[in-house]
Amino acid sequence: MEQQQVFDKVIAILKPFVKAPEALATVSMGSFIVKDLKVNSARLVDVVLEIEDTFGIAVADADADKVKTVGDAVNLIVKSKS
């Protein structure tokens, strides 16, 4: 799966949790999920579950804890799928 496809799907997963919808207009691999997109940090658990279901992967807690940016999530998925 191309990185752009993964990126688009990650954004779609994040969208319901985003409390700063205007930030989605300029979202990039470097956007911080909590700080920039204003996703409630407690909801990162749900984001990871959605990623696991969408991409058919298992995300270890230690790896999930390292995800801070959209790019971190995309790279984790691409690596898991490769």
């Binding site: 985003v18 409390k19 700063a20 909801r43 990162l44 579950l49």
Partner: protein, 428 residues
């Protein structure tokens, strides 16, 4: 006037009821005698003896206009009903919400929003299946906020930016009335300027099943839903389960006047107590002495003579207890049947909404005072024989009473707990 004597008024109303959504619609439904009781196929499929109930209609279609996707995924019916009623009440009071991002906290505003059963539907439908399957890690982040008892008030605090006391009380069927009394006292004592108060209850078969098993739900009118809720009737066979939310914005008179708010009514007094499960009281039946003390406590605090009460919005659920309740009102007020206030039951229209009942019925009482009417009590044309002496005081069809001044509202709940609040038309 000391801080303890501050006057408290009602400036906003929010209603999610089986027969209406919104204060204006609810007032119209009460006046028209519109029943919200319908046949509920899912109860029949589940083997309930009672297959009728009161469930608010059309709420799913409205949710997205009140709540974000992120909020809704962490809310059950109980919380959704409470949130919509809270947002409506706040707006109805002319108050505005501060921005969730960077907005101010209103330190003078709080919420006491109770529930009787709470998020048991979330426990049964979402939590237990995954836990039992060994999939705790798949529960996600939203379980706790849906099953914690304070889930409804906590969500409201976030929606409105409340900074005063925010809590969820629970005293079974007395819950909503108790919340109004406690919020009234908090404002009266100067600890808050305005409080959302009342109760909410979801509409789940899991909430209602235990009552059906106790055989306290009506079971003989499944084919005639609007006739099923029969308070004060000789053929009353139990209560009809209801659901929804009824919330009031209570506010200090000083605050209401300072911002030019519309005032629906004044709260004159309130009282709560427990019968101690003695002298005829038990987990499921009220001690008559406790009931009478509660009513007398509210009337004494209100500083009015019993004769000044124009109408009683009773607990009156349609069980064997209705005649006992009215006898207790008569004894507590020291009034013979012929001199009693007008008697009626909002449950005849919407069923018994458990933890939401007191809130919904307080809203009904306030609307009656504001608009000048007493709504009819459905389905008691065949009055219970023990109530014959009160026949002239029981309202079957809505009566216009532009001069309506004082309405007493009481609730009595499992646990032998009681609550009573006295509302009066506002006089400046």
């Amino acid at each position: 006037m000391s801080e303890r004597d501050r006057r408290v008024v009602v400036t906003g109303l929010g209603v999610v009821a089986p027969n209406a959504h919104g204060a204006a619609s609810f007032a119209g439904a009460l006046r028209e005698g519109k029943s919200g009781i319908r046949f509920q196929p899912h109860l029949a499929e589940a083997g309930f003896a009672c297959c009728v109930g009161g469930i608010p209609e059309g709420i799913e279609a409205l949710e997205a206009s009140y709540l974000s996707d992120e909020e809704r995924m962490a809310m059950n019916r109980n919380m959704v009903y409470a949130a919509i009623a809270a947002l409506d009440a706040w707006s109805d009071a002319g108050l505005t919400r501060s921005s969730a991002e960077g907005g101010d906290v209103d330190w003078g505003a709080g919420a006491i929003v109770g529930t009787g059963i709470g998020g048991i539907d979330t426990v049964v439908e979402k939590l237990a299946p995954k836990v039992d399957a060994g999939k705790v890690g798949r529960l996600g982040s939203t379980m706790v906020e849906q099953i914690m008892s304070s889930g409804n008030s906590a969500r409201i605090a976030g929606l409105l930016g409340l900074g005063n006391q925010v809590t969820t009380n629970s005293s079974a069927c007395n819950t909503g009335t108790e919340a109004v009394v406690d919020a009234f006292l908090r404002i009266r004592e100067g600890r808050a300027e305005r409080m959302l108060a009342g109760g909410s209850e979801g509409s789940s078969k899991y909430i209602w099943a235990g009552f059906d098993a106790m055989k306290v739900l009506e079971r003989r009118h499944n084919d005639r839903p609007t006739e099923a809720s029969r308070p004060m009737s000789a053929t009353a066979g139990g209560f009809v389960p209801g659901s929804g939310a009824g919330l009031l914005v209570l506010e200090s008179l000083a605050s209401a006047e300072a911002r030019g708010a519309r005032i629906y009514a004044e709260v004159l007094g309130g009282y709560t107590n427990c019968g101690g499960h003695r002298m005829g009281g038990s987990m499921t039946a009220p001690n008559p002495s406790g009931v009478r003390r509660c009513i007398q406590g509210a009337v004494a605090m209100a500083g009015i003579a019993p004769e000044a009460i124009d109408a009683i919005n009773g607990h009156l659920t349609a069980t064997f207890a209705d005649p006992h309740e009215i006898a207790s009102w008569s004894a507590a007020l020291g009034l013979p049947p012929a001199k009693m206030p007008l008697l009626h039951s909002t449950k005849s229209l919407i069923g018994h909404a458990l933890g939401a009942a007191g809130g919904l019925e307080c809203v009904a009482s306030v609307l009656e005072i504001f608009h000048g009417f007493v709504h009819g009590s459905l389905n008691c044309e065949d009055l219970h024989p023990d109530l014959t002496a009160y026949a002239d005081r029981i309202v079957h069809r809505t009566v216009e009473r532009p001069d309506l001044q004082v309405v007493a509202k009481a609730s009595f709940g499992f646990g032998d707990v009681n609550g009573c609040v006295i509302f009066r038309k506002f006089q400046s």
